[in-house]
Symmetry: D2
Subunit: 370 residues, 4 copies
């Protein structure tokens, strides 16, 4: 009998969690099928409807019901960011394992509280950094680990979308200061999670944040000042001695789900773009002179765990399937594996610290050490 699952939130990422919980045992032969016990959402009606749609046993308007249910062993948190800390700490304290969507929390204090609870209570507590689960990202790590591109000395990270790019769209909560720094906490955590997995820690940063549009149309027919920043960018240095640049922009017309990496080493380099998530480009000076060039690798059975999804190469995984891989890693972690490929609350807090240091640098107009 598999673990009992509770899911809080059934919107964008909640559905993604539900799909992962539903599919994980079909995809991974060693996984015992989880039981989808209960789903919580804002109202009982919505929760019941979504429980039915997603195949959960029951729905509830109160997430604390899940925390209190002994049939539930692990809780997926896909609720609005400001509730993450309270939910995660309560779940951990009730002895549940926690799978929490990123960003971890809306303040460093909350994130620290979550990390402390995870440490104290010894349960598995991970964050939903699904992009690290891409077989091509794992391949990138293997390429670096096997020293195929030598010592990494320069890194560029970009994440861009265009959902805030239209200046004629009405002001909504995403532009309120209360919702956070803007692109910095919306996006930066993603490339930073990749950096964490592929390279290591940032030690210092200098940053700038910008508003492409100072104001937006308001509901009352007038305009309203935009309170946070749709663009952020930072120069950084890493513990391992590399220099780098981080760029995020949620008002970048034409970009839909771009997360672009450029990683340069002493013997080669690696390129990746999430918009072509099934490809990785590698340049190696081991190739003969005159025959060196970026090699476009297509995801296939040699790239773990692609084979579990499709036995033929080049057929393509999707964004949602990264969550299925993540779910399997979570289950490995819960079952005690030391090699589970996850970002736990410990490492998640490090990522949050970089985000906040970046914001401080943008405010102070100077370098900030971490």
């Amino acid at each position: 009998m598999g673990l009992g699952v509770g899911l809080i939130g059934s919107g964008y990422m909640g559905k993604c969690h539900a799909l992962a919980w539903t599919s994980v045992a079909t995809v991974f032969p060693d996984v015992e099928r989880p039981r989808l016990v209960a789903l919580a959402d804002a109202t009982p009606e919505l929760a019941q409807q979504q429980a039915l749609a997603f195949g959960f046993g029951r729905g509830t308007g109160d997430w604390r019901d899940l925390v209190a249910d002994p049939a539930i062993h692990v809780i997926s948190i896909a609720a609005p960011n400001q509730f993450h800390a309270e939910m995660a700490v309560a779940a951990l304290e009730a002895g549940k394992h926690v799978w929490c969507e990123k960003p971890m929390a809306t303040s460093l204090e909350d994130a620290t509280r979550m990390r402390d609870a995870a440490r104290r209570l010894g349960r598995t507590a991970i964050l939903g950094y699904n992009y690290i689960q891409n077989p091509m990202i794992r391949l990138a790590r293997a390429i670096i680990d096997e020293d195929r591109i030598g010592t990494v000395n320069h890194i560029r990270l970009e994440m861009d979308e265009d959902y805030m790019a239209d200046p004629t769209e009405r002001f909504y909560w995403k532009s309120e200061e209360a919702s956070g720094y803007g692109a910095l906490d919306d996006f930066a955590v993603h490339p930073l999670s990749l950096l964490s997995v592929l390279h290591g820690r940032i030690t210092s940063v200098v940053a700038d944040m910008a508003k492409p549009y100072a104001e937006r149309p308001a509901n009352d027919g007038g305009t309203r000042s935009v309170e946070n920043h749709d663009i952020a960018q930072a120069l950084f240095r890493t513990e391992a001695g590399a220099s780098g640049v981080l760029m995020v922009n949620r008002s970048a017309w034409g970009r839909k789900g771009r997360i672009a990496l450029q990683i340069f080493g002493s013997k080669g380099s690696i390129l990746f773009d999430q918009e072509r998530m099934n490809e990785l480009q590698v340049y190696s000076t081991d190739d003969p002179i005159g025959l060196q060039g970026y090699r476009t690798l297509l995801a296939g059975p040699p790239h773990t765990p692609y084979r579990q999804f499709i036995p033929a190469p080049g057929h393509g995984l999707g964004f949602n399937e990264l969550k299925v891989i993540e779910c399997n890693e979570l289950l490995q972690a819960i079952s005690g594996s030391r090699n589970a490929h996850v970002i736990d609350f410990e490492r998640g807090l490090e990522i949050e610290r970089i985000v906040h240091a970046t914001a401080r640098s943008a405010q102070s107009r100077g370098w900030v050490d971490l």
Copy 2:
């Protein structure tokens, strides 16, 4: 209470069906969750193990158990091709709906028998042509239907993989004459299904089939003659007046899951490659002079039914998710929708006829009319 499902076969495509049946109700809010009643495979042991893994109620070594089970309303056939006809006809005669993997059958007689049974018994009977379910292919159809590229006058279709490309690999059943023509029936049905959906019927064809390797290493240490063709190619004309070329190659080093379309019309053109399945390229002469060029469209919420999977654009669907879409279309067809986007046995038989006419042309060295 959703429909009862039986699955025959739990290999490559069987797993793909299982994932689709598991996920379809989570993805599509209007779908009642199907009940995974039973799974059949070659032996009871394998079937029981796979039933457990895939979440089916029971496993059986005899597919006729599924046909006889009144709790099963629809049967997925993902068994070896030579059994399709017998299984499909038996299922239809037992009043089940049928979802059968392609190719339809290994002979035109069998395919005709299947079509006749579907006609006679009035059940929903469709084929697993999942590539037509790609939102970008549907977008291509919409672009053509809306006359954005004008009258289509020329089409090029390619499907290439490299799983037979290594001449040092041992002879196995795929190279036996008994397994079929080779690349022609392995591959050609896929681009032909896209042609059927996007353009219409082929009326005449002249073809050639080739063996890149005349023999292969045999198990006994000697060599064995290859009996069918890893490469096939044909020139064709269509009912709508277009000329075209069909090319398939299962020994094409470097190609992993390429299904490439080039569709030229009197006002523009469309390009597609399954290896980048989330992209479609469109050239339109409606764009201003000097600003005309191929536009790379990334799959997103405007492209039905992408939105059901992910609310954000450019995040990427995977190969397996096409099967989920297909499953939903099947359910729409079963519930009586006239607009279900499927290839039924009627149209499937047309595709088989083209395959066999192509083979005849390669043998007769002349044009063959359809």
Copy 3:
């Protein structure tokens, strides 16, 4: 003192020849600067104006003046195709070397006459197949010669542009039967020249030719029937045992200067597209499993003779510079080099034979042997 040069024709390709003659000695350090003696065009006025513009000593309305001028050692023929034979034979008979634009002639008889004259008179006589001069095509040949992709077993050749793609454009001489077969002789010679250099001879062919538009607007306000074919396609076999497809289309909206090659071998493959003429894609099974993919090579100093133009890699050569390379090869051939990389009248006639055999096949609706 360098060779004396005469140029017949100062349009599109005439200008391209003039640029090559002007630049060749600056680019290639071993080349003695040619003397631009005289230019001939349709009228004396035009010829004098163009001679001044292109830096030739004098202009003449009679191309026979060039043939008669003892100061001229080599004659560039960039006049309309129907005059090639007469001009080339006269020039050869006058003891000149000849550099003639392709296609060689408008009939097989004329082409044979040209070949015979070149044989008989022992002068250097080459055709302007500039695409073979691309360093990336030479690289492709080296890759094949060094057995990096093994034995070539399948080839696809495409050449497409869109200058005849607009059905609303008026009928003009390009659509007259007298101008030739259409796309077949406009385009096919280019990919066939590449095939000749990279692989070898075609031995049999089956073809189809198509008209995307049966008629076009005429000057008188009515319409006029199109007399030749904007689309041609053929299946072929080669002496070396490969199968292949040739596709040409001059009404392919969106294609501007596409000449695409796909060459598959027993150990790898090569892709090329003239629209990205500074790139070559190579797939090699010598790369480790899991790290195999198409490598995009950018033209640079290792790729002869790129270094003569630019010492830094990846900066890009242009179409016109291929003619400069060709000019240098012509000069090498004239000076007696056996290794000059050119298509002489002998090999040019072979290409013409393929074109005419293809046309015959399209008419007879059957395979034609060469």
Copy 4:
């Protein structure tokens, strides 16, 4: 009779100038053919040899000979950077027009002196910023000017090559402090010239410079400390209100001639990469919903002055041909045109100021205003 030309320096860029002077009148019909009067290089022997190779009337070991020659009206300076100022000022004072390679000079003082001389003496004095001459860059400017992407609010500039990427290569003068800042002055001027043309002035900058390799093998068998920086990166703000990032790296394995632009506006965006210099990518929100995507434009006759080189689209210009365009613009400027598309010493000095401000910021670890 055209202008008399003197050329100082016959290496990489000297040859490029020679080709431009040789070809410009053939390409551009309105240009009077320049007379290649004399070439100067380090020794008389080298100069005479190169004069012969490049078609100049004579060679000299003393560049002042050119300055003194009344038959020379314009002087190309392609000598080492530290001599630019002395040569340019002397030439201007002798009444010559000056075409000087970039970077302008090795110190801000020298660059200022050059600018002052150009102002004072009223001759045409331009810098060899050839990348701005690319028809696709001009197209980008037209797209911005025509408000097709709206108000530009974010810009990313990258220039990367790999000629310093190999850590096993011996220390040579490029790594000496005396040679300059490193990548910053080697590369940054190029993307900054594009920024100047496409957008406008930078007003503030914060920067970092990095050494991928602290030391390199020395000729004596030991190692030697690297004295400047192969990597530089900066955040910036512009007068027009945009934010941006500048990144340059001359040790970026795999990059050969990358100059990548990303320009985001309120209605669309533009992408460019010099490694595919005949392409421009444009995203426009004027396209219909569901049909928006980056359009890849291929250089062709609508993109001035492509048509002067080749009448057919998509055939491709090369790096050297940008210099021919620049030469024509220089001649237009000399003949008094106000619309010549050049970077004169005035604007060149602005670019130098940004370079030096960037270096100061990297040293002071803070923002620097311009």
